[in-house]
């Protein structure tokens, strides 16, 4: 059951009577086809087919254990580091199967921010510079890129005087923005965020949401959240996962105001048991 996305390049592939979606000619950045994912014998994802629009914010919502984080982690092949996992189907980045690409290349192009901020035990500067160093950036450009990344993550003005202090000295919200800066430094084309605000207070959350709005000018953003208000505020498109299936995927407004499926309606209205 491949749910056709809001944006498709070839309408011929769209099933008759597909989900009501706006027809635009934006080429999808990421698409999956018949994606099944297994932890050992447990199937965590069932036939996920989705097109993720370039330079938009796409949010995935759903109850705990519904597979939304698993799905996110397949898109930069992070799940391959977990033993006993396998998947079939296709994940295409700009039309190219990421399984056939070099894994480090995929992860450099598809960055990731995790649920819990995880700065390295290094200085603030070195945290952001690390990705540049391993990807062979020229020494002369590193300082400049670090500053630009910290600016994009709305952290520069707060920490520009303590670049060489340990990252652990920052507050929780600052650490998470540092992790975003670290991910942005290597200039990924896609940024995956796995419940990035779940451990943050409302003010820190708001700051991160604001900066995601800025980043989407240049970067495709996919965010997993268990906060429905956040999805409604942020996302252009929203997908609802339940029991490893993508139940519905559409414009965010449609998902929240006019859901097509009963399960979606139950969940977004809070009737979900």
């Amino acid at each position: 059951m491949a749910i056709q996305p809001p944006h498709v390049e070839d309408t011929s592939a769209m099933p008759a009577g597909g989900i009501n979606a706006p027809q635009t000619s934006v080429i999808p950045k990421l698409r999956t086809r018949d994606l099944n994912f297994y932890y050992g014998s447990f199937q965590a994802l069932h036939n996920i087919g989705i097109d993720i629009a370039s330079r938009k914010i796409t949010a995935f919502i759903g109850p705990s254990g519904c597979g939304k984080s698993t799905f996110l982690r397949t898109m930069n092949r992070m799940n391959e580091t977990v033993r006993g996992t396998r998947y079939d189907g296709q994940i295409l980045l700009d039309g190219e199967d990421i399984r056939k690409m070099d894994v480090t290349g995929v992860r450099r192009r598809v960055g990731m921010v995790f649920q819990k901020s995880n700065p390295f035990p290094k200085t603030i500067f070195e945290n952001v510079a690390y990705g540049l160093r391993i990807n062979g950036a020229k020494k002369a450009t590193i300082a400049e890129t670090v500053q630009r990344s910290l600016e994009r993550a709305a952290l520069w003005t707060e920490i520009k005087d303590k670049l060489h202090k340990p990252a652990s000295a920052l507050s929780g919200g600052q650490q998470q923005r540092l992790c975003i800066a670290r991910a942005l430094a290597v200039e990924p084309e896609v940024l995956l965020l796995d419940e990035p605000c779940s451990a943050l207070d409302p003010v820190a959350t708001l700051k991160i949401e604001e900066l995601l709005f800025q980043i989407k000018e240049t970067t495709t953003i996919v965010i997993v959240t268990h906060n429905m208000q956040q999805a409604a505020r942020l996302a252009d498109h929203t997908g609802f996962f339940l029991m490893g299936k993508l139940i519905e995927f559409n414009d965010t407004r449609a998902i929240f105001q006019n859901p097509k499926k009963k399960e979606t309606e139950d969940y977004v209205t809070g009737r979900f048991g």
Binding site: N76, M78, T81, R83, T104, G105, R107, R108, G111, M112, F114, K116, N118, P119, F120, P121, K122, T123, I124, E126, Y130, G131, I134, N135, H164, K165, P166, A167, S168, C179, R182, A183, V186
Partner: protein, 325 residues
């Protein structure tokens, strides 16, 4: 106003009412006292140990003083006692042991924790930990009957041919030597480094690895740049443990070091270590000065262990990566 004050006064005694006796009944004070006495006992034992060593070695301390440490003659018949050859032997064999065991042990622990499949890792770790349980006399026998012939046939000719220009590898290898003792010690201490370092590496949060991988790091880059710095303090701890064992190891060293109180730059020469001389000569120590000097050696070994540990700890603090929490 008055009401407020009286409320405050009413409340004030409350913490005292929930004081010692109540907490004692709740078990809190008892637990505290038990833990405290256990901790105090350890300190007390260490203190008594030093005191007893000091008292028993006063005779030697008065006779030789500081020159005990710098004297290189050990002649019980002439009543001449100098500890330098033993200090030298202990330091050289321990340094050699760490030189071999640290890269080996840390490398093996990285393999076991990061690269090997978990089942294989558990089996291998079990076998490696068995090595730590082998009695040291067995290691001594292994040294005499297996290791020394191997060194004699293969390693020593190779070292002489390759590094013969260094004073370390000049002379003739007869078997018992600093080299043999260092190698057997390295085999004995490596399991400590491997098993502790593996646990420490396991304890590094997965999200640290994932953060590095998500930036496009290879598995090796993530391990070397991120996981190991995270585990640094713990790995150092495992090396201290190994060092402490190497400094104090008696039996195996005695069997292969040669038991000759001599200082030689060549690792092929026989030597002696502090622990070995105490074990060998204690039963035949005639005369109070002889006995007192052996006990003084024990005090020196104790001091040496403390000094080396302190230096190593300072080294860690100084070289501590900037930014580490």
């Amino acid at each position: 106003m008055a009401a407020t004050t009286s409320t405050v006064l009413d409340r004030a005694p409350e913490p005292r009412a929930r004081g010692f006796w109540r907490r004692l009944r709740a078990g809190e004070e008892i637990a505290y006292l038990i833990a405290l006495s256990a901790a105090t006992l350890v300190l007390l034992i260490v203190g008594l140990l030093v005191y007893q060593l000091w008292i028993s070695s006063t005779l030697s301390i008065h006779a030789f003083g500081f020159s005990f440490l710098t004297g290189s003659t050990w002649d019980p018949n002439a009543g001449q006692f100098g500890a330098l050859p033993f200090i030298y032997g202990t330091c050289v064999t321990s340094a050699l042991a760490l030189l071999i065991a640290v890269p080996l042990g840390v490398g093996a622990s990285i393999f076991l924790a990061e690269l090997a499949p978990p089942n294989a890792s558990n089996v291998m770790t079990f076998l490696i930990e068995l090595l730590a349980a082998v009695p040291s006399v067995i290691y001594g026998l292994l040294g005499i009957f297996v290791l020394v012939p191997l060194i004699h046939t293969y390693l020593a000719p190779f070292l002489t041919a390759t590094f013969g220009f260094l004073p370390l590898f000049q002379g003739t290898f007869y078997g018992v030597s600093f080299l043999s003792a260092g190698i057997i010690l390295s085999i004995m201490v490596a399991p400590f480094i491997i098993s502790v370092s593996r646990e420490v590496l396991y304890a590094v949060p997965t999200d640290q690895r994932e953060a590095a991988l998500a930036l496009g790091a290879t598995k090796w880059e993530a391990t070397w740049d991120i996981v190991i710095p995270n585990a640094r303090t713990g790995i150092m701890g495992s090396i201290f443990l190994a060092l402490a064992r190497a400094l104090g190891e008696t039996m195996a060293v005695t069997m292969v070091i040669g038991n000759t109180p001599a200082i030689s730059a060549s690792l092929y020469s026989p030597g002696y270590s502090i622990a070995a001389v105490i074990a060998n000569e204690f039963t035949e120590a005639t005369g109070n000065l002889y006995l007192s000097s052996l006990i003084f050696l024990g005090l020196v070994l104790f001091g040496l262990t403390i000094v080396i540990n302190a230096v190593a700890r300072i080294l860690i603090l100084v070289t501590q990566q900037k930014g580490a929490a």
